[in-house]
């Protein structure tokens, strides 16, 4: 049984924590409605857009947006950490990079499966695909760096700098399709690629809401764990420092 006083010390977001189950419940409900809308309400798209495979779109695009969101969180927290180092900023930057990798993975695996039907191939070195893969690899590099180089001040700063640099690529991904063309269409904001039916637009909008909630849940979870780990490491160091004094005669 853990001492309650000690447990109180490791409560990184104690006041906000009471809302976490509520957030989880809302996220679960929104995802349930979203899945019903994708498969029961949204009509099948035209054959050139992949037909039935186009339904991947309602997770693929929001996952890409969630990667942007996580990347932006990583960027802001990393920049804040470089301006003034705190455990909380480091934990949020770490969580941002980890979530960007997960959402990036979702996007990069679902996209090729849809592309096989819409384009006839799983992968092509299209400008948007290439820049997206590059960006996900930068976030993978941040995560690997943090995992294998320890949790020292220098390593944290290097990871934060990489997190800031990685996010510079995000606007390039977004505008690459407008600047250089390629196979990847711009469905949002240019009026192309389909989505003529109102139910398709509503489903996509709900997809964005669902992925935003999921991104908040995952960022919260990972940031809490990262903050707890750094606080615990500090407490262990303090405990170790106490031991020799007690052992001296």
């Amino acid at each position: 049984m853990v001492n309650p006083e000690l447990m109180l010390r490791f409560r990184p977001v104690s006041r906000l924590s009471r809302y976490f189950p509520l957030l989880l419940g809302v996220t679960f409900m929104v995802f349930t409605v979203l899945i019903c809308m994708i498969f029961l309400v949204a009509p099948q798209a035209q054959a050139t857009a992949g037909g039935l495979a186009q339904k991947i779109f309602y997770f693929h695009v929001p996952a890409a947006y969630a990667m942007y969101l996580s990347g932006t969180v990583c960027f802001l927290a990393s920049a804040a950490y470089l301006a003034g180092a705190t455990d909380t900023r480091n934990a949020i930057a770490k969580a941002g990079a980890e979530c960007a990798v997960v959402f990036g993975f979702m996007m990069l695996t679902s996209g090729p499966l849809w592309a096989k039907k819409a384009w006839g191939v799983y992968w092509t070195w299209d400008p948007r695909l290439t820049t997206t893969m590059l960006s996900v690899m930068v976030y993978v590099a941040v995560v690997v760096l943090r995992a294998f180089t320890g949790d020292g001040e220098a390593e944290r700063k290097f990871a934060a700098a990489l997190g800031v640099l990685g996010t510079v690529n995000l606007p390039i991904i977004h505008y690459s399709v407008l600047k250089w063309g390629g196979n990847h269409p711009t469905v949002i904001g240019r009026g192309g690629g389909g989505l003529s039916h109102p139910a398709m637009r509503q489903t996509l909008a709900l997809g964005f809401v669902a992925m935003t909630l999921l991104a908040i849940v995952l960022l919260w979870m990972r940031a809490r764990v990262a903050l707890l780990a750094s606080q615990l490491a500090r407490a262990e160091e303090e405990a170790l420092a106490l031991e020799p004094e007690e052992n001296t005669p």
């Binding site: 339904k55 991947i56 997770f59 695996t109 679902s110 384009w119 191939v121 063309g181 390629g182």
Partner: protein, 81 residues
């Protein structure tokens, strides 16, 4: 010649036109069933999410064990004094 034209797209289309529609890659085949691609995509995405949550849960469990260990050490040191 633009990048898109080099990849086999019609020469008359500029990047802005191409960015608003789905354009098949030249030489690509479309024989795979849409149903299997759809199921595979959703399976992979949910598997990735669940794996991430599982690893977070495991990491949290490891941290709780470290807190228990620290608690034991502190209890023993308090007992000595």
């Amino acid at each position: 010649m633009t990048w898109a034209e080099q990849q086999g797209a019609p020469a008359s289309k500029n990047p802005e036109d191409r960015s608003t529609e789905f354009v098949a890659v030249q030489g690509g085949g479309e024989s795979t069933s849409a149903e299997s691609l759809l199921v595979a995509a959703y399976l992979v995405m949910w598997a990735a999410l669940l794996a991430f949550v599982f690893f977070t849960w495991r990491k949290q469990g490891a941290l709780e064990k470290r807190i228990e260990k620290l608690d034991d050490v502190l209890r023993k040191s308090v007992g000595k004094t």
